[in-house]
């Protein structure tokens, strides 16, 4: 007979890892998230908050996904932020982090939609009118995110990822021509 506490612990560890599909929740989120942000759970137990108003990742947490009870109170009407069911391991901030040419200049961003893929989510937006697709998936080891940006224009211009408090990161391209940025939180909350 497995003790109940051990069973709960086992499920807590296993369920995120066994997630088969991407799950999205648009509810009030904690940790200073802008209303309207996405909470996304990826297969492999990686969860993140994405702010469509600024077109960027806000934070990443691991483990369980969300306790939705405060945000969806049932018969009541007052709402509060959902609770994260795991520790935050990575944070980003700042407007329109994907930038072309000059990293100092934030382009005008307009969020246009998203697509759920088997193991990833794709966000779509325009930067100064240029359409961009941003696909986010979990790294196979579950300790990072792979972000692939597919601008609809841009030629050979350099592209940057700019996050408040860090130096601009120049983005390279993968074999398919997508701009790639890996986020890892090994040893860094």
């Amino acid at each position: 007979m497995i003790p109940r506490a051990a069973l709960v612990l086992l499920l807590t560890l296993l369920v995120p890892a066994l997630r088969a599909a991407v799950r999205v929740e648009r509810v009030l989120l904690p940790e200073g998230a802008t209303p309207g942000s996405f909470a996304v759970a990826l297969p492999g137990g990686v969860n993140f908050c994405y702010d469509p108003a600024r077109g960027g990742l806000s934070y990443v947490w691991t483990g369980g996904f969300l306790d939705l009870a405060p945000a969806r109170p049932g018969p009541g009407k007052f709402i509060a932020a959902a609770r994260l069911l795991g520790p935050v391991v990575h944070r980003e901030d700042g407007p329109a982090p994907l930038r072309r040419g000059q990293p100092e200049t934030a382009p005008a961003l307009a969020f246009t939609g998203y697509t759920l893929r088997p193991a990833a989510i794709e966000f779509r937006y325009t930067l100064d009118g240029v359409p961009v697709r941003e696909e986010i998936s979990a790294r196979p080891d579950g300790r990072g995110l792979v972000r692939r940006f597919l601008p609809g224009a841009g030629g050979d211009a350099r592209w940057w990822h700019v996050t408040a408090g860090r130096p601009p990161a120049a983005l390279g391209r993968d074999a398919a021509g997508a701009l790639v940025l890996e986020v890892s939180w090994e040893g860094t909350p």
Binding site: R26, L28, P35, G36, P52, G76, F78, A80, G113, L116
Partner: protein, 616 residues
């Protein structure tokens, strides 16, 4: 007020009977979820689509089985389905076009339309929708935020919480319980098919229901509240101002110094049809037009509006000299109506509606927001027309009533059976309004039709800018029997000769008017009975709409002080706290922002006096 009228007013406060001829049936909701239905529509192929308050969208196929199309949305309130694979959803952040492009039965591609309005963490920051005109443009309404918080800590922390867009916590004019904190809250927005939104009309508080008439005119419901004397069905045209000023702060060139209550009143467009608060509900939802061509009974072309308070209102619109106006009637009563009455099983919280391909009216209910019930029902006509007023329209000299069945000819010739009255409301910053300038309207003539199917009422005077009330409890059908729903109202915004009234069905409140019990000082109320008398007035103005004049409340909603003695068996300080802070679970507003401390004491004194409940 004579005894007969008093008795009639008392009778009108009792549960509204449901009309014979209609059957209410529960519809099995999607399995395994809380069926809090927050939006409802049909695809062109006739498949039922619902959205839940918890953010899921479900479609019921031809075989009656449900499948989930989408999940994780933020409190959807409106749906438009182009097909089973392409559905538009209004939710708090934006309008989403959800598409199942890969054909696996679930939407995977979501395109954003609009989404450029402000969004705060306020529970009241809804985005209500959804209507679409012939150009493909959508209409949606970001509601005002509430100044009420769930507790002192939340209230203190609230201003520091992040919002989407700019933020302004200031008031445009007088303080009220709701305000526009972020851009375009309190507005109706028009969102073009390519996703750009633009302000269309202002002055809304909580437009919890939008719809386009068959002629293409846009209508919305709005709740009573600050600057909102009563609920109603509003005709919304570009540039309109519908009463609540807070959202005007976002207008280009907004000059707060140029605003006054009188300036606003002169700009005000009041409802096409007022739904008098209380008898005609208190929180109307989505208006839907009966386009079933008679499959739903004798009210083809009329509008049906589910109200949160266990009522479906029937409304009949007509355009007179370029202005929309018309009549409203109770249609289905509350579920505490006598058990023999058909329709008594109507769920409270039914604010979403759609006519199905079977000619039935489908109603979606949610327990969220207040004290409703979750679930899905449909109302079917059984082919039997009960005796009802099917139509109340304006004529050159007065009004014409038409009946579903012939009325007793002798009754149609008896003016005493048509006790027409009229009243209007005050326009002011306070919550709701009492009826003012209320007066009987004597009839100069009654002109019954030979077949007993209609009668023209010719009043001695026909003043626009009033709501006309017609209780008909003593009118009988030719074959005997009373009207099923013996109460009706007509909102006369304009006469057929074009004459209207500034401020619509409101009068500009004089300073302090409509707030009796608020002007007296504590010294004024020391005289025996003065405090209770002031409290009685406060109760009539602010409490009786929900708790009812006799204190019997609304089952599942407003407390019944008569049947449940425990309600008032609490210390004064606890009851005053409830009055001040409201009761979230029962959708009771926080009157701390509405009534003075003295008014709150007065109304408590009245409660204890009227309902025999001394302080423990």
């Amino acid at each position: 007020m004579n005894l007969r009228h008093l008795a009639l007013r008392f009778a009108l406060a009792l549960p509204v009977a449901a009309p014979a001829g209609y059957v209410i049936e529960d519809v099995a909701p999607p399995p395994g979820i809380r069926p809090a239905i927050a939006a409802l529509t049909f695809t062109p192929a006739g498949e039922l689509v619902v959205a839940t308050r918890d953010g899921e969208v479900w479609l019921r196929g031809a075989a009656g089985t449900w499948r989930r199309l989408a999940a994780g949305l933020d409190e959807p309130t409106g749906l438009i389905a182009d097909s089973a694979r392409r559905i538009h959803v209004a939710h708090r952040p934006e309008i989403l076009r959800a598409e199942d492009l890969d054909g696996d039965g679930a939407a995977e591609t979501f395109s954003v339309l609009g989404g450029d309005w402000g969004l705060s963490p306020n529970y009241h920051a809804f985005f209500f929708g959804l209507a679409r005109d012939t150009t493909g443009a959508f209409f949606g309404a970001p509601s005002l935020e509430s100044t009420v918080a769930s507790g002192p800590e939340q209230k203190a922390a609230y201003p520091q919480l992040p919002v989407r867009g700019r933020r302004s916590l200031g008031d445009v004019l007088e303080f009220s319980g709701h305000r526009s904190e972020t851009p375009w809250r309190g507005w109706m927005l028009r969102i073009t098919p390519d996703g750009r939104s633009a302000p269309f009309a202002a002055g809304f508080r909580q437009a919890n229901g939008l719809g386009l008439s068959p002629e293409g005119a846009l209508f919305a419901t709005d709740n009573q509240g600050d600057y909102k004397p009563s609920t109603g069905l509003l005709h919304v045209a570009a540039g309109d101002f519908h009463g609540h000023p807070s959202g005007l702060k976002w207008e280009p060139g907004h000059d707060p110094a140029a605003l006054s209550l009188e300036v606003l009143w002169r700009r005000l467009k009041t409802p096409a049809i007022v739904f008098p608060h209380g008898p005609m509900g208190q929180s109307p939802g989505q208006p839907v037009w009966d386009t079933t061509g008679g499959a739903f009974g004798p009210f083809a072309g009329q509008v049906f509006v589910g109200d949160y308070s266990r009522l479906v209102v029937r409304a009949e619109l007509e355009e007179v000299a370029g202005t929309w106006q018309g009549a409203c009637f109770p249609f289905l009563g509350r579920n505490d109506a006598p058990p023999h009455v058909r329709g008594a099983r109507l769920k409270s919280g039914s604010t979403r509606a759609a006519f199905g391909p079977d000619g039935a009216l489908y109603l979606g209910a949610t327990a969220g927001w207040g004290a409703g019930e979750d679930g899905l029902q449909r109302v079917r006509w059984d082919g039997q027309a009960a005796f009802e007023v099917s139509s109340w329209r304006l004529t050159d000299e007065g009004f014409r009533l038409t009946f579903t069945r012939p009325a007793d000819p002798a009754h149609l010739a008896d003016p005493a059976r048509f006790p027409l009255r009229r009243f209007r409301y005050l326009y002011h910053a306070r919550y709701g309004s009492p009826r003012v300038d209320e007066t009987p309207v004597p009839l100069a003539a009654l002109r019954p039709a030979a077949d007993g199917r209609s009668v023209e009422l010719v009043p001695r005077e026909l003043e626009p800018g009033f709501v006309y009330e017609l209780p008909l409890p003593e009118l009988r059908a030719a074959e005997g029997g009373p009207l099923v729903n013996p109460l009706a109202y007509y909102t006369l915004n304009r006469r057929r000769d074009g004459r209207g009234a500034t401020g619509g069905t409101t009068r500009l409140a004089a300073p302090g008017e409509g707030t009796r019990g608020g002007r007296e000082s504590a010294a004024d109320l020391r005289a025996p009975g003065a405090l209770v008398a002031a409290g009685a007035e406060v109760y009539r103005l602010y409490c009786a709409g929900c708790h009812q004049p006799d204190g019997r409340g609304i089952p599942g909603g407003a407390a019944n002080f008569v049947a449940d003695r425990s309600r008032l068996a609490q210390p004064d300080r606890d009851l005053l706290a409830i009055i001040e802070q409201g009761n979230e679970a029962r959708a009771m507003p926080a009157f701390g922002a509405i009534l003075s401390p003295l008014q709150r004491q007065a109304v408590l004194a009245y409660l204890r006096s009227a309902f025999g409940a001394p302080a423990p």
